[in-house]
Structures are given as C-alpha cells and as structure tokens.
Amino acid sequence: MATSTDTGPTAGGYVEEFRSFLEETWLGYALVLPAVVLMGVIIIFPTLRGIQLAFFEASLLNPEQQTFVGLQNFAQMFADATFQSALWHTVLLTSIAVSLQYLLGLGLALALKEKVPGAGLFRSLSMITWVLPIIVMVIIFRFLTQTGFGPVNVILDSLGMETAAWFGRPGVAFPLVVLMHVWRNTPFYAIALLAAMKSIPETQYEAARLDGAGPLQRFRYITLPQISYVSMIMIVLHVIFTFNNFDIVFLSTGGGPLGNTEVLATYIYKQAFQQYAMGYAASIGVVMLLIMMAFTVVYATLEARD
C-alpha cells in the first residue's frame, strides 16, 4: 500500500493519467454533443447558408435553382430607397429606444434602491411588462389608441384635443413603436442596475460622506463607475435586441403607415416571404450582421480602454 502511493511518476502513472484525461475529454464532448448538434443544424448551418445565399439570386418558390450573382444584391441596396429608409429607421429606433430605456431604467433603479417599505413589491411588479408576450403588448397599445372608444382618445377628446387612429398616423406611429420598446424593456435595465448597485459596499458611501461628498458626487464617483460593466452588458444586449427585433414593428404597424416604421427586419421578412427574393433578403441580413458585429467590437474596445 505504502509503495503504491510512494512510487511517484512511473510509466504506469502516466498511462493512468493519460487514460483519465482521455476519459474526461471524451465524456466532456459527449455531454456537450446534443447542444452542439442542435445548434449546428438549426442555427449555425442556416446562418452560413444565409451568408452564402446573399451572393446568389434565388426564389423561395424554387429554392433549388440558384444563380451566382456576386455582389449584385449588395449593389441593389444603393438604389433601393425603401432599404435606405428602413436602415435609417432601424438606427434611429435603436439609438432612441436604448438611450431612453437606459436613462429611465437607471432612474427606476435609483428609486427602487431606496429603503422604503414595499420596494420589493414594486420591484417584482415592474417586471410584468417584460414577461408579457409581444402580441399582447401590441393588442393593449392598439386598443388604448382606438378611435371612438380607446381610453387615450376618450381622454384627449374630453380635453378638447385632436383624436386619431394613432398607429395609422405618420409621425406618431414611429414614436409609438419607440414607446412600446421603452415600456417593455425599462424594468429589465432597472433590475440589473439595481443588483449592481446593491453589490457596492455601503462603507464606500460612508467614507465619501465623511469626506464631504454630496449625493451627486457620490453617484458620479462611486455608483456610476461600479455599474459600468453591467451597463455595458445591458446596452450591448439591447442594441442587438432592438436592432434585430422583428415582432414589435411587424405586429403593431407592419412597417406602415406609408413605410414610416419599416425597419430592416420587417423589410427582409417581406422580401423573403412575400416577394420570395431570398438572395436579396439574405444580403440585407448580412449587412445587419456586419453592423452589429462592428458595433459590438467598437463598444467592447471602448469599454475595455476605460
């Protein structure tokens, strides 16, 4: 017994170690295999095919027949006014919605952080908007803005103001889409920022207070730097989410009125499944992907430098 533990690194020991290494590796791969296969077949392969499709002309009605057209699909975008306005709307929607969500979420987090009785209840209730199906949110907002009996118009009417079917009104439909994004996502920012704030030790605030720092200074020099990592995660996640989001626009306005709320995701969907222009749709998808990758890299680099 004593000898077997004392022999140290013998050839047999190495073999044993190698065998257990092999076993570890083999089992490690086996456990992760189902996830890899599913991801590969359903996500990775279609993505690679999608990127490839961007260089072909192909119809959804006859997917077998594909003609290589090089960069022609990308050239087509330069002449496509609808694509350009959809790109502009997507960028506008993403930047406005994410900024508003972050600022309002930060405000909500600061309010929830205060130790008032019932803050926990408020915290839970606020997350309701985030779990609702998007279609339910859209139905609610469309109902609220109905002409004649929708509460928003009823109130506007009683105040002697103009009433309208607001989702069909150019100039109002787009702000309504922004509003729905804000309504839905603000609580999630608040909860994440709140958790980050709560992990800051109270002693840091006390020390700052003793040094005569006011509430604004404490926020600027203690709170803000220590929530910057979570802020980055939240902002990157939601920029990606908003930029790629399809449901909210498609279900609420369908891109209308008069293309006023058309975004890239809805435009691609229409190109692919209503115009059957698979190749062109895929090439716009590739442009979206490139923009998101560039954004993520730039943001992560900036954040790492700070």
Partner: protein
Amino acid sequence: MATDTQSQARSTDRSLSDRLDAWLAEDMSPKRALGVYAVLGVYMSFLLLPVAYMVMATFTSPDFLYSPRLVPALSELTLQNYVAILSTGLFQQYFINSTIVATATTAITLVVGTLAAYSMSRFEYPGRSGLLFTFLGTQMLPRVLILIPFFLVMFSLNLIDSLLGIVIAHSVLGIPLGTWLLKGYFDDIPESLDEAAKMDGCSHLDILGRIIVPMSLPGITVAGFYTFILSWNDFLFVSILSQTAATRTLPFGLQLFQSQNTVAWELLLTAATVTMIPVVVLFAVFQHWIVEGLASGGMKGT
C-alpha cells in the same frame, strides 16, 4: 395651560414622526420616502395601468367597451367574454398547442443545457471556451437572416407544420442563454464537493444528478422560466413553421384574430388576457428567484 396643550400637541406630533421614522429605515426621512413613492408611483402607473385597463375591460359588456367612457357601471360587469373565449374551439386548440410546445421546449432545453453546462463547467477539453462563445454569439445573429435557410432545413427534415418542429426551433433559441445561466450556477458549486463524491465512488453522472442539479435548483428554475416564456411568446418562428390551425400557438392565433377587418375587441382582449395568465402566474410563483437570478446570476456567468 396653553403651553401645556401646546407641548402635549408637540409631543404627540413628535411621537408620530418618531413612529414613522422608526418604521422607515435609519437614513430615510419621511420627506425623502414621499419623494421615492411619488417617483415609483409615476413609473408603476406607466407600466401597469395599460395592463390593468385591458384586464378591467375584459370583464365588461360591449355596451361599455365600445362607449366613450372610462369607468364601467356595476351593471356592465360580466364574465360573458371569458365564457365565449374559453368555449371557442380554435382558442382551446391554440392554448393546448402553446402548453405542449412551451412545456416540451423547457424540458428539452433544460436537459440539453444542463448536460452542456456541466461539461463546460467541469471538464477540460480543447475548444471548450470557444464553444460557449459561439453559443452566445448566435444571439447576435439577425433572426430574419437565419429564417430563410432555416425554413429550407426544416422543410427537408419534414418538420414544417408539426409541433415537433416548433419545439426543436424554440429549444435551439433557448439553449445558448440557458447553458450560460446554468454554467454560472454550476461554477459557483465548489469542486471539492465533486472530489469528495468521487472518493465515495460516485461517477460523473452521479455527481451531476446528486450534487450539481439539486444545489442549483434556483438557477435551473430561472433558465426554465426564461425558456418557457421564450417559447410561449414566440411569434416569428411559429408564423413560419405553422401552416394550419392544428399547429398554431397563441401568439400567432391572436395575430390572426387581430388582422381581420372587423376586430371583436371584447374577444381579442379576453384572449390576450388568457394568453398572458400562465406567464404572469409562473412569474409570480418564482419571481424571487427570477428577479435575483436574471440580475445577478446572469451577470456572473461571464
């Protein structure tokens, strides 16, 4: 006398504010508390009033619903909308489909995700870190870009217009975040526990089943809830995969309801309310774990 009552008044006054002070936390003045409540009140009205108004409207008759009034009379309250919706065959079908799809998706994602997360948390092999990165990277892909070839893949696998196809699609959407969340929780369990179990003759799968899974139940709940609402709420993939009423889930069914020329709002709002009930109830039951888990657990997975 006068001074007596005055001081008495002041003392009851003080004891009241003292009591309020004692009730509030140490560094919270009543004035500040009022300010906080005012801010929270405005936020909560913005977030909750629209939902509350819809739910209220579902309990009223069309006489009220289509009238330019904001508050119903007592005589206008009714359950007839719920009776009508719950006895509609198509709605029942959509509800059953949604339940089957979301439940199966959650089960598959949790099993596959747990195995993958265990592998990534406890095993050493080439490509391990790249794998998680790739999984998470798929979250960045525009879903509409995947959609076109995805449709063709599902077509060639003969999974169009089948509940199984929808379940597989939803599972794949849930696996990256599920795996990431679970890995974060697994990483927090000390490896010394694994070693001790190995000494006692436990295999790797014993360790997973007897130590890792029981100790990360909150994490598994969070991942399961996230997957469930992802599946329950999905519109895009169902709209592509489902071709007939037999495979429609609630969000797609509601959309069809809505896009008809004349919308029966009393039925649409009631259907929407019933659709949100399961996710709201699940959220209410697990909300403590979910709020904590998504906020802090989600962050530590990195």
